[in-house]
């Protein structure tokens, strides 16, 4: 097989893997938009906050230590213990549930029946608030996140595919972290689908997504559903934070991963969980292949803008996205 073809195949595989990582971020947006019609600007910051909290708990860091030390003149930074990764993940998930409750109690509850733009603005405020609180709680330094996930190219894959090409072909490169992310994303999507199809709360969630008023009229608690859906989105943010944080360390740039999710949402639709996955895969593969074939002709660095161009192209033909619900309003 010609090396160029093999490289294109390698780029495609890596594009699919990158797409899964984009989808993980997009999923959180979809869940909240589906249940409440809110475009949650804070989703990226939620991933950052979750990852910061996870590292903080794992390392036994004292939250707000800088503030405490500044006020009381103390020198405390750590409790002196470390927490195993699994337990730390569970504790962080619990923190995200508390966060979901707080969002409902202190923000959403007061904005019921407000126009969507007000709710959107509230999530912008929430994003900046959380970024500040995260900074105060855990500090601004870059933290290494290690929950035991493998990283680096799969040597087995490289060795067993090297024969496909010539002397210059080293075999396919696939980061083992990306493979884990793909498996986790698959489990997450299957779990979410089963949950929404077969559990009582899941059906209630779908009912709220379809029609708030009708759901209320049959006794579904809107407030409970909001807490539930923000908790699930918080958990998805935690998963995304772990995957991205393992790659780059946990730092404030992590919140910018939301930018990677926007074209995915435009393409896949804001209300479809499968759409977030398929959209992510298309964006991932599309931008990587474009960079591979066209990038060298135009000076490279095409991925950021090409993702949006691709999403816009889809929008022209399907404004609701690939899997989004078509809204027909009669006048």
């Amino acid at each position: 097989m010609p090396d160029q073809l093999l490289y294109a195949l390698e780029v495609t595989l890596n594009g699919l893997m990158a797409g899964v990582l984009y989808s993980l971020v997009a999923l959180g947006f979809v869940l909240i938009f589906k249940a409440s019609g809110i475009f949650n600007y804070a989703q990226g910051v939620m991933a950052l906050f979750a990852a910061l909290t996870l590292v903080g708990i794992q390392e036994g860091q004292v939250p707000f230590s800088h503030l405490i030390n500044a006020i009381f003149g103390t020198e405390i930074h750590h409790f002196g213990w470390t927490v195993p990764a699994i337990l730390a993940i569970m504790l962080t998930a619990a923190v995200m549930v508390v966060f979901a409750w707080a969002v409902e109690r202190f923000v959403l509850k007061h904005l019921v029946n407000q126009p969507d733009i007000i709710l959107f603005m509230a999530t912008i405020g929430l994003a900046y608030f959380m970024e500040g609180v995260g900074d105060l709680m855990w500090g601004a330094d870059i933290k290494k996140l290690d929950v035991g996930l493998p990283q680096g190219g799969s040597i087995w894959l490289e060795e067993n595919t090297a024969w496909l090409g010539g002397d210059g072909f080293y075999g396919f490169f696939i980061d083992r972290l990306d493979i884990v992310a793909t498996v986790v994303a698959a489990i997450l999507v299957i779990s979410l689908t089963l949950f929404s199809q077969y559990s009582k709360q899941g059906r209630a969630l779908r009912a709220v997504a379809d029609d708030h008023q009708a759901a209320l009229s049959v006794g579904i608690s809107l407030r409970f559903i909001w807490v539930l859906v923000w908790s699930i989105a918080g958990f998805v943010a935690l998963v995304a934070g772990i995957m991205w944080g393992t790659k780059s360390g946990v730092q404030f740039s992590l919140s910018l991963i939301a930018l990677k999710a926007l074209p995915v949402l435009m393409l896949g639709g804001f209300t479809s969980i499968p759409g977030a996955i398929v959209g992510g895969l298309i964006i991932g593969v599309g931008e990587k292949l474009f960079e591979f074939f066209i990038g060298p002709m135009v000076g490279g660095a095409t991925e950021n803008w090409f993702a949006y161009v691709l999403a816009l192209l889809f929008l022209v033909f399907r404004p609701q996205g690939l899997f989004g619900e078509k809204i027909i309003e009669r006048v």
Binding site: N14, G153, L256
Partner: protein
């Protein structure tokens, strides 16, 4: 009654204001928040702690206490300009914005306001030409010096010839990241290597395509021009594809502890340029511990002493303090103003003996600034990350950049700036 109150408040204000007027003011345009805080915090701490040390140990500089008012820029250019406007009337002697974006915005402003700006290893490279840039200084080195030092190190590794070798420049796709391209192209002509340019869009969290390209093309060296999250991701990706880390060399803004720690053992052997020493194995750190940290006066929590960015901030403060001493000596006054500070900077001479006196032996290259040369010696060293010891180790002495090539580029760029802005050359 009201008049009495007003008089009392005015008197109090005057009393409080008086000592402030006599202080030497070094505004710190810091960034302790946002995506670039990991680099901004230790630099700001080092900068502030050095002046605190001078106050506590020596009673200031030449009898005048120092003050470092901080203004948070979050590495945002607009905020940086606001900070400048907010602090310049406070008797500011010098600005060090630690951002190329802010530097470009401030160049015309500080020039008009008559306040010197020191952009150590960043900013507008051609500001090294003091004939054109009267108020801007970028000693001891600039971006182009770093690029040249990287090439010289590669030359050393290859036994003196890069003929037929390939170098890939992985760079932040911004004005900052594009800075070394021209220099590396010129040096490619001189040394016969092939240069491949690989841009990464900001912020640089996703670099899979770029590293697959590097894996395919197998360049002999990867030179790296990143900042922020781009640094951590690139080093992790290099480790992922098992690129030989001792052939992966970053600019001095891509070579601090936060850049390599997230990659763990994978970062072992990664190199970068630097223009200061690292670690706390210098006598000055004993004084910092005694007079600043132990007294609870440190700007941070005292944990970052010896780190790359902390030491860099401290070095910037030392150079500013030495310029103040020179200005005091030239003008015969202790409470100098910004114009006198500029004179001090332009006559600055920091010898090896002086650095030893300051408790910083061989901490940085010797610096000699003149009216024509605001860029200093153009020297830097190569440091290498030791992952097991979790520290940077200097593996070369200070290397002199290829000033023959660089000076020509500086003259060309500064001449264009002078023509655009109607500036007449000075120092004649």
């Amino acid at each position: 009654m009201r008049l009495k109150k007003l008089a009392a408040v005015t008197a109090a204000a005057i009393t409080m204001a008086s000592p402030v007027m006599a202080e030497l003011v070094f505004p710190s345009l810091s960034y302790r928040t946002g995506p670039f805080a990991a680099g901004g915090v230790p630099f700001a701490d080092g900068y502030a702690d050095y002046f605190t040390l001078l106050n506590e140990r020596d009673g200031g500089i030449g009898g005048e206490l120092t003050r470092v008012p901080e203004c948070e820029t979050a590495y945002n250019t607009e905020k940086g300009v606001e900070c400048y406007e907010a602090t310049k009337g406070d008797g500011a002697l010098i600005y060090q914005p630690l951002s190329t974006g802010i530097t470009y915005q401030l160049i015309p402003k500080v020039s008009a306001d008559g306040i010197p700006m020191h952009t150590m290893g960043y900013g507008r490279t051609s500001a090294a030409n003091g004939k054109v840039f009267e108020w801007i200084f970028n000693y001891p080195g600039n971006y182009w010096d770093s690029a040249s030092i990287m090439v010289k190190h590669a030359l050393d590794m290859e036994g003196g010839s890069l003929e037929g070798k390939s170098i890939a420049l992985l760079y932040h796709n911004s004005a900052y990241g594009k800075e070394p391209i021209r220099t590396l192209e010129e040096l490619a002509e001189k040394h016969g290597y092939n240069l491949t340019l690989i841009p990464v869009d900001s912020p640089g969290q996703e670099q899979k395509s770029q590293w697959l390209q590097i894996r395919r093309e197998k360049p002999d060296y990867v030179f790296f021009w990143g900042w922020g999250v781009m640094n951590q991701v690139a080093i992790q990706e290099a480790a992922n594809i098992r690129y030989p880390m001792d052939h992966f060399i970053g600019v001095w803004w891509s070579g601090a502890e936060p850049d390599v720690l997230p990659a763990g053992d994978g970062a072992d052997g990664y190199k970068s340029t630097n223009f200061t020493g690292t670690g706390t194995d210098y006598p000055i750190f004993d004084d910092l511990q005694t007079y600043v940290v132990d007294k609870g006066l440190a700007a941070g929590d005292g944990q970052s002493l010896g780190q790359v960015q902390y030491n860099r901030g401290m070095y910037a403060a030392m150079l500013a303090a030495e310029a103040v001493r020179k200005a005091q000596e030239i003008h015969g006054v202790s409470a100098i103003n910004a114009a006198q500070m500029r004179d001090g900077m332009e006559a600055l001479e920091v010898t090896a003996a002086r650095m030893e006196e300051l408790g910083m032996p061989n901490f940085g290259p010797e610096v000699n600034v003149t009216c024509e040369n605001h860029g200093g010696p153009g020297m830097g060293l190569i440091q290498q990350w030791d992952a097991s010891a979790q520290k940077w180790v200097a593996i070369t002495d200070y290397i002199q950049s290829d000033r023959e090539v660089i000076n020509e580029l500086i003259m060309e760029d500064s001449a264009a700036y002078a023509a655009e802005n109607g500036i007449e050359e000075r120092c004649n």
